[in-house]
């Protein structure tokens, strides 16, 4: 099974090729705002390097954010088209989950900058005792809180039930979050830079696992995890209600 992983949800342009259990290629390029220009040429280069064609792909894993709205749509549009043309399964994966699934720790808080002192976050357990479903057991991962956005100051309140546990902080604003949580006597650790971003090989592997469990997405319904309405919609609601 040959899986292409595509992620344009963060500053990283991330692209990977996984063949069964072998990571054949993994690009993680911190480029900012060049995803539209760079993604398709990079895919072309990847295919040429391994002398394969797009039609040789068996599945696509794509990151659905949260992240930059415009950025997210680049990888998702690409994934939809490949899925449609070659009639292969596509699975959308949360960027927060990609980060957590790449690390070993009992409890992991992953965060992405949501601007205005807010972060998008999700909170995961990798403790066997917490796993209930087949999916959780297979992935070795359980999402404890559904992804959302929060003011960084409110993290202590959010995690109050886990005060005694060691919590790994990943992603954006981890230093600020660690400072806030340590002040409240939480046991937190942070990661080295090479472990602190969503790696595209992890995305492809997650895609493989989900698809093997029959959890592919309908490409006609697949969309980013925006986690926020368009600003104009929020303004309108504030003015007129509803």
């Amino acid at each position: 099974m040959l899986i292409l992983g595509i992620d344009t949800s963060t500053d990283y342009l991330a692209l990977s090729l996984l063949e069964d259990n072998l990571v054949k290629a993994e690009y993680n390029l911190s480029l900012k705002r060049q995803h539209s220009e760079k993604l398709l040429p990079l895919m072309e280069e990847l295919f040429q390097t391994f002398a394969i064609k797009a039609q040789d792909l068996d599945a696509i894993a794509v990151s659905i954010g949260p992240g930059s709205f415009t950025g997210l749509r680049i990888a998702i549009t690409t994934a939809k088209m490949l899925g449609r043309i070659f009639d292969i399964p596509v699975k959308g994966i949360s960027t927060l989950e990609i980060m957590a699934a790449g690390q070993r720790a009992d409890y992991i808080l992953t965060m992405l900058d949501a601007r205005r002192a807010r972060v998008y976050y999700s909170f995961y357990s990798r403790k066997k005792a917490d796993f209930k479903t087949d999916l959780e057991k297979k992935l070795n991962l359980k999402e404890l809180y559904q992804a959302s956005s929060i003011k960084i100051e409110q993290l202590a309140e959010l995690l109050s039930a886990y005060k005694g546990e060691e919590i790994l902080l990943l992603g954006d604003k981890t230093d600020k979050a660690a400072e806030i949580l340590k002040r409240e006597n939480f046991n937190v650790i942070t990661a080295d830079p090479e472990n602190n971003y969503p790696r595209s090989a992890v995305l492809a592997r997650l895609g493989r696992d989900y698809i093997n469990l029959g959890q592919e997405d309908d490409i006609y319904q697949l969309k980013p995890a925006y986690l926020k309405k368009p600003q104009a919609e929020l303004n309108w609601q504030q003015k007129y209600g509803g």
């Binding site: 539209s36 220009e37 760079k38 993604l39 398709l40 040429p41 895919m43 072309e44 295919f47 040429q48 064609k53 797009a54 039609q55 709205f69 415009t70 749509r73 680049i74 998702i76 549009t77 690409t78 939809k80 088209m81 490949l82 449609r84 043309i85 070659f86 490409i219 006609y220 969309k223 980013p224 925006y226 368009p230 600003q231 104009a232 919609e233 309108w236």
Partner: protein, 346 residues
């Protein structure tokens, strides 16, 4: 791709899938040999943006992502073709709203890479001009084209895609933008062009004497901000005096002022340049009063006059596919690294 591609020539049948997503219409088409439109599918988002009185870019981008695949499917189905039958894929790469442009352009890149066919990046304004040739392939060149829409007011001298000259453009609001703003101010809704035209039907176009912009340098440029201010002042003055406003008269007088400004510049250009025809393009070209006035004046100087059918006036992909065909024959292909250009000029 390393393999040298075998491109088709004018004698062959060439099928192009084109995508358009520069504003609030998600569109896909399949054209055969440029001007033969096998499918022209447009999914309008107008209703989504109505309550905001204009296009909200982020809402438009989200909708493009949702609609593009179904629109492509429908276009291929109507054309009776499969992806593998396509000779090239085209997309609008500007001007327009960047978020929307990127959805269509990225989709086209992915299709080009997947099928190993050329990618053709098309200028939206060129598309509007070529919309005329789809309905009337016999149009004689050189011609003068007035492109008028929510984003553009361009007066062009046009021979072909490589030989043209911008004679004038707006210095402030686009013509369609002026319609939208005044319609919103009058409470007539969005989009403003059809709303004002409808309200003007029973009105007297001479009822209120609004100013027509005159350029000090005698250029072919347009300006609508003075007119817009005059209309707003008129409404406020009437309100202050407690006088009732005749919406029909107001709409008709405003429309007449816009039509006057557009047609007078167009006629000046027609007299100055040696041309065979005049074409209108863009959404505002659907305005009946404008067509009427221009038609009558051009009859006197014996210049042929064309405008596209309504479905080709507003944004659509068939016009993009028409331009793409001529770019294909010129082997004017884009690299997968091309970016969207929101302020692309012709």
């Amino acid at each position: 791709m390393n393999a040298k591609r075998n491109y088709k020539n004018k004698e062959d049948d060439i099928f192009i899938l084109a995508l358009e997503s520069s504003c609030d219409e998600t569109a896909a088409s399949v054209n055969k040999n440029g001007l033969e439109v096998l499918a022209n599918v447009v999914s309008s988002q107008v209703e989504l943006h109505q309550k905001f009185g204009g296009v909200v870019p982020e809402i438009a981008s989200r909708k493009h992502l949702e609609l593009l695949l179904p629109v492509i499917d429908e276009a291929l189905e109507k054309a009776g073709l499969e992806f593998r039958d396509l000779d090239a894929v085209a997309a609008t790469y500007g001007p327009g709203l960047v978020g929307g442009l990127l959805v269509g352009l990225t989709a086209a890149k992915a299709i080009a890479l997947s099928l190993e066919i050329p990618l053709i990046a098309v200028n939206h304004i060129a598309g509007h001009i070529y919309a005329n040739f789809i309905d009337n392939p016999q149009i004689k060149k050189p011609l003068i084209c007035l492109t008028i829409s929510g984003g553009h007011t361009d007066l062009l001298y046009f021979e072909d895609l490589k030989g043209y000259e911008i004679l004038g453009r707006t210095r402030d609001d686009a013509a369609g933008e002026a319609f939208d703003k005044i319609a919103r101010y009058m409470g007539l809704g969005y989009p403003g062009g059809p709303a004002i035209e409808k309200a003007a039907v029973e009105g007297d176009p001479q009822a209120i004497d609004f100013p027509r912009a005159v350029m000090a340098d005698n250029s072919f440029d347009f300006s609508f901000s003075g007119l817009k201010t005059a209309v707003m002042n008129y409404i406020n003055n009437q309100k202050q005096k407690g006088k009732e406003i005749d919406q029909a008269d107001l709409a008709a007088s405003f429309q007449e002022a816009v039509v006057d400004s557009l047609s007078s510049k167009l006629l000046e250009a027609v007299k100055k340049y040696d041309i065979k025809s005049v074409v209108l393009s863009g959404g505002v070209a659907a305005n009946k009063r404008l067509r009427e006035v221009v038609e009558a004046e051009l009859k006197e100087v014996e210049i042929e006059f064309y405008y596209p059918s309504l479905e080709l006036c507003t944004d659509n992909a068939a016009m993009i596919g028409a331009v793409a065909y001529y770019q294909y024959l010129d082997r004017d292909f884009a690299s997968l690294a091309i970016s969207a250009d929101p302020s692309l000029k012709l």
